[in-house]
Symmetry: C2
Subunit: 344 residues, 2 copies
C-alpha cells in the first residue's frame, strides 16, 4: 500500500497502532512516561524537571546517506536516532525526547514506514528515549530528520558537559572503542551484498553492521563527565577532521601518533592496506574523542575497563592537527573527512 492511499492521518494512525499508542488520542489518554501531553496535539509537553537542556538534530536523505536495497528501512530508523544519540553522548548527556520528521514520496510503501519505525523504536527502547511525535510531509525524496533533547549531568550543583573548546596544552587526547569499521562497511556496501573482499565473510558482516547499526557511546560519555572530563566530541565526519574542530575551538595544536590509533580489527582483516587511513579519515564511527589531564584520563580509563585509548596530546601553538608516524614524521592523507555539501 502506498502512503498516498491512506494520507497523512491514516499513516500516523497506522504507525501509532503498530506501537500500541492511541491516535487520535481519546479524552484522558495517559501521556507516555516523562510527558504531560503526547502525540496528537499541536506540540508535545514534557513533565517539569530541573536542569539544563541539550538539543541536537540530524538528517538522513535517501540516495545520499543511504541507498534503499543496500540498507533495510529498519536500519535507517535505528541509525537516524543513533546519530542523534551520539551527539548527546558527545556532550556526556542523558537522552530524553525525540521528534521525528519524515518527507515521503506519495508512492512510499506503508510497510517500509512500519519497518522504519520498528528500527526507531528499537533504538528508542535501547537508549530510553521517548518518541514524541513530529511531522510527515510529501516530497519527491525520502528523508528522516530527528530532533533529540537530553539533560546534562550535574556536578556540585552545576551543569557539567563535554565541549569542544576546552582542550589545554599538556592534556591527553583519547578515543573510545576502535575506528574505521563504518568506513569499511561503506566500501563493502557500495560493492553490493555478494562482494567478498578477502574471504572473511564474518569480518565483512561486522563492518557492514558497524555502518548500518552504529552504537552511540551514551554510557561512556556520561562516565567521562563523572570522571571529571570536560572536553570531547563524537567522531562522525572522520577522526582527523573532527580533531580539527577541537583544535580550532580550543586554539591548540593536537599531535596524534598514528601507531596508537585503535584501528578496527575487522578492518585490518578485510582491508589490510588501507585500514589505518580509513580509521583516520572515515566517517560515522560514532566513537568519542576525549581530552583531559593525564590524571583525570587515567581515572576514566581505569573506570571504563580500557575501552578508551590515548592517541596523542595537546600542545601550544597554531590550531592544527598533526598525525605522526612511528619515526615522528608528519603524515598526510588524501582526505580528512566528510563535507556534506561539497562535490565528492
Amino acid at each position: 500500500m502506498q502512503v498516498s492511499e491512506i494520507g497523512e492521518f491514516g499513516l500516523i494512525k497506522l504507525l501509532t497502532q503498530e506501537f500500541g499508542i492511541t491516535y487520535p488520542p481519546a479524552r484522558r489518554t495517559p501521556a507516555p512516561a516523562g510527558l504531560e501531553l503526547g502525540i496528537g496535539d499541536d506540540a508535545v509537553v514534557t513533565s517539569k524537571r530541573e536542569g539544563a537542556l541539550i538539543w541536537t538534530t540530524d538528517t538522513m536523505v535517501e540516495g545520499n546517506h543511504f541507498t534503499p536495497g543496500s540498507t533495510s528501512w529498519r536500519d535507517v530508523g535505528w541509525k537516524a536516532l543513533a546519530a542523534n544519540l551520539s551527539d548527546i553522548a558527545a556532550m556526556g548527556g542523558v537522552p530524553h525526547l525525540a521528534l521525528v520528521t519524515l518527507t515521503l514520496p506519495p508512492d512510499f510503501q506503508t510497510d517500509a514506514a512500519i519497518e522504519l519505525y520498528s528500527g526507531l523504536h528499537e533504538a528508542a527502547t535501547t537508549f530510553s528515549v521517548t518518541l514524541g511525535g513530529g511531522d510527515i510531509v510529501r516530497s519527491p525524496v525520502f528523508s528522516i530528520t530527528v530532533a533529540l533533547s537530553g539533560w546534562t549531568l550535574e556536578e556540585g550543583g552545576h551543569t557539567a558537559f563535554l565541549r569542544r573548546d576546552a582542550a589545554k596544552a599538556g592534556d591527553l587526547v583519547a578515543v573510545t572503542g576502535q575506528l574505521g569499521a563504518a568506513a569499511g562497511g561503506v566500501r563493502l556496501i557500495v560493492q553490493g551484498p555478494d562482494f567478498d573482499a578477502a574471504g572473511h565473510p564474518e569480518s565483512e558482516n561486522q563492518l557492514r553492521d558497524a555502518q548500518h547499526r552504529p552504537q552511540p557511546r551514551v554510557a561512556l560519555g556520561q562516565a567521562a563527565v563523572r570522571a571529571g572530563l570536560r572536553c570531547g566530541m563524537d567522531v562522525s565526519d572522520g577522526l582527523t577532521q573532527d580533531l580539527g574542530h577541537i583544535a580550532t575551538a580550543s586554539g591548540v595544536a593536537l599531535r596524534i601518533e598514528a601507531a596508537k590509533v585503535p584501528v578496527s580489527n575487522e578492518l585490518r582483516v578485510v582491508f589490510p592496506g588501507d585500514a589505518l587511513a580509513m580509521a583516520l579519515t572515515g566517517g560515522e564511527d560514532y566513537e568519542l574523542i576525549l581530552v583531559g589531564t593525564s590524571e583525570v584520563m587515567d581515572k576514566y580509563i581505569g573506570e571504563t575497563e580500557r575501552q578508551v585509548t590515548v592517541i596523542g596530546r595537546v600542545e601550544d601553538g597554531e590550531a592544527k592537527v598533526t598525525i605522526v608516524d612511528e619515526g615522528g614524521k608528519a603524515m598526510t592523507f588524501e582526505r580528512r573527512g566528510w563535507d556534506h555539501l561539497a562535490e565528492t
Copy 2:
C-alpha cells in the same frame, strides 16, 4: 555561488558571519542569551530553567509547500519559523529555541541561503526566539525543517496550557482574527504575479502577504491561558478539519454557525463568491481556535479587545463538526482541509 563550491562548513561560516556570530567559535566565545553553549559544538546547551517544555517541528518542501519564484527565500525563512511559532501559540506557550535543518541541492545559491536566513532572523527577532544551530545536508530537493521549543505558562504553581481534548458540552467555540486570507493568497500566487482577480490590487497583495508572511498568534495564545482557557489549537489545515481534531480528542459535537465565522475582508473583496467556503476550509491561517465556558470566554474577549469571535458551541453527542447556515441547516463542502500525503 553554489553551495557545493564552499561546502557545508563554508556555508555555515558564511551564514553565521552574515548575522554576527563567530564560527567556528573561538575559545571563550560567549553563548547567545539563554544558552550555555551555542552553535559550533555537537549540540546546543540551554541555561538552567524550571518549568515544563513544549516541543514542536514543522517542515516546508520546495515544490510542495512553496514555489521558488512565486515566494521569496526571505518569506520561506519567515514562514518556516512562523508555522512552528503557531504551534507554540496553540499551546499558549512562550517560544524559546529553534534548530534549523536545511536539505540543499549542490547548486543551491549561497545568496538564496543568506536571504532565507534573513527571513528566519526577522521572525526570530520579532518573537524572541534563539536560533541555536541545526544541520545542513545535501539532497536533490530543498527543504527546511524547524524544531522549536518553548515554555508553558504557570498558574498557581502548575503548568498551564491549551490542549485539544478539553472541550466540554456547553462551552463556546471561538477563533482569533479573520479566516481565509491565506487560502486567497494561494489562489492568487498560483495564477502568477500579474493576475488581477478583480481590480483590487491592494486587497490582493494583502492576501498574498497573508500566505507568505503569516503572523502567529503567540500573544493571544498566552492571553488565553492567563484568562483561564485550557482548550485550543491553531488553524493550520483548515478550520473545519481542525475543529474535527478538537471534536475527536474531546469526544464532543461542535455546532458552528457559518454566519458568525469571521471571513477575511480582503477575501470578500477579491473572491466574493467563494469567500465563506475558503474561510471554512482553507489552510495556513495560523489563527487560534479556543474553547471554554462563556464566563471565561467573555473575560478573554474583553481583555483582547475583541480580536476574538465566538462562532459556535460544544454539544453532547457523537464527535463531529456541523456547520449550519442562518436557517440552522447543515452545510457541506467539497473539502474539509489539507492532507499532506494524499493525492490532490
